[in-house]
Subunit: 266 residues, 2 copies
């Protein structure tokens, strides 16, 4: 049955762990954590390029606008319009990387990495608060909101694995491995990542109301927005939830080969 | 014109480099190289999983057999049949990671990483050497060859970038960025990697001939095989050639979210 096959997988996995750690000279109990300064530079370069392109082609605005247009807001909020975008100018700092065995019973080895970001990433919107009581649309209040992410810190768990699950919707990472399809075996490696529940996600939320009335509703809207953003993050990336991103095979292939253009400095 | 836009890109890029290095506290001239012990463990775990699955489902044999069947061998070699596969039992060791500016004139920051692999990865084949002179197929000699990769060491250069080139066939990594397609902008990050030309790739090649005659042809076949393997590697992954592998966006998405199954140890 599937359960005993799973158990075989787990036993085999456990036997492999000792070998892997021995051959890579890594002792999970006392290996010093490692710096990731090089990785910070590569990530920063990528983010910097993304920002440059965002400024050129305004694509962040369009993506966010699409997202907000399609989002399902409560019926007391009117259409949401973007008034301000600040894509930030700082970079996340990854540090303190160490290998631990996962606590999910599989014994899988994962890298735990501290992540810290202090930046100001702002989205300003305007909308209207619709007063639907006692009758629908009896009144509306123009609202301007500005939401800034000012701090994120957390512990990221990363591991690599060969995904073999045939249906991408199944998602029980270790389950039903042997119902294989030959085509899936070629599909490369996947990154699995999630954040520990003790993350810090700090927002700075400002709100303005265009009329004198109903000031007492503003904190409710701010906290609604903040809760929504945190919920979005938790539902996707905080343990026990995790993200699975397939990366294509790194095996060198002709179709992925490029050649540098002539050197422009010589 | 495209050339002046390219020049603008390069200038902008150069201005960004100083900012990136400053904000990530990295001085390319004197930053100590960093260890990658954690990465070795993750890679080893992935390779170990791959080997386990290869043993279960025999897929390495089938992939290689397909490859050999489709390969274009010289007309003095008959069909190539696999007689031995050893997928090795050791793992590559990555070390000594440092950020340098690329020498290709773009100023791009890349991580240089030493890679070392001592293992025995063997492919044994049998075929026949066809003697086509003075007449086609006048004779044939059964040959058994065993090719082992026993050592690889080299310096890997890795960088990340946001690919924006619309046609995947164009490939001039920095060129023609602004002929954008909105759909392409969402396509995530790409890894670019290549090896320095001073790599070491050592093979151990054994050959047996089934008849007494023509022993002097054997080293020619061994060196043909070795040259072919090295050529395969050089043409794909040695500077100025490089591999470009797109990885999907790491932005957390519902469709990539999984939830851990119930803890089996508690």
């Amino acid at each position: 049955g599937i359960e005993s096959e799973d158990q075989d997988d787990i036993d085999l996995h456990a036997r492999n762990i000792a070998t892997i750690l021995e051959k890579t000279y890594y002792n999970v109990d006392n290996h010093a954590s490692e710096s990731l300064d090089w990785f910070n530079v590569l990530i920063a370069q990528t983010i910097s390029q993304l920002r440059t392109e965002a400024l050129i082609s305004d694509n962040i605005f369009h993506s966010l606008n699409d997202f907000l247009t399609k989002s399902d807001f409560p019926d007391y909020l009117d259409t949401v319009k973007i008034t301000e975008i600040d894509i930030g100018d700082d970079f996340p700092i990854f540090s303190n990387c160490r290998i631990k065995q996962s606590q999910d019973g599989s014994g899988r080895l994962e890298a735990k990495i501290d992540v810290d970001l202090s930046d100001t990433i702002t989205l300003g919107i305007e909308t209207r608060l619709l007063i639907n009581h006692p009758r629908p649309m009896i009144a509306s209040l123009p609202i301007q909101l500005s939401v800034s992410l000012v701090r994120f810190s957390g512990c990221l768990a990363v591991s690599l694995f060969k995904p073999l699950v045939t249906s991408p919707l199944k998602g029980t990472s270790n389950g039903s491995k042997k119902t294989e399809k030959k085509a899936e075996i070629e599909s490369g490696t996947a990154i699995r990542f999630s954040f520990s529940p003790d993350y810090r996600l700090e927002f700075n939320i400002k709100s303005l109301i265009g009329s004198r009335a109903k000031l007492q509703d503003v904190p409710k809207i701010s906290s609604l927005i903040e809760a929504r953003l945190k919920q979005w993050f938790v539902e996707r990336s905080v343990e026990p939830r995790f993200q699975v991103i397939r990366i294509p095979s790194l095996w060198p292939r002709s179709k992925n080969t490029r050649e540098a253009v002539a050197d422009k400095t010589d």
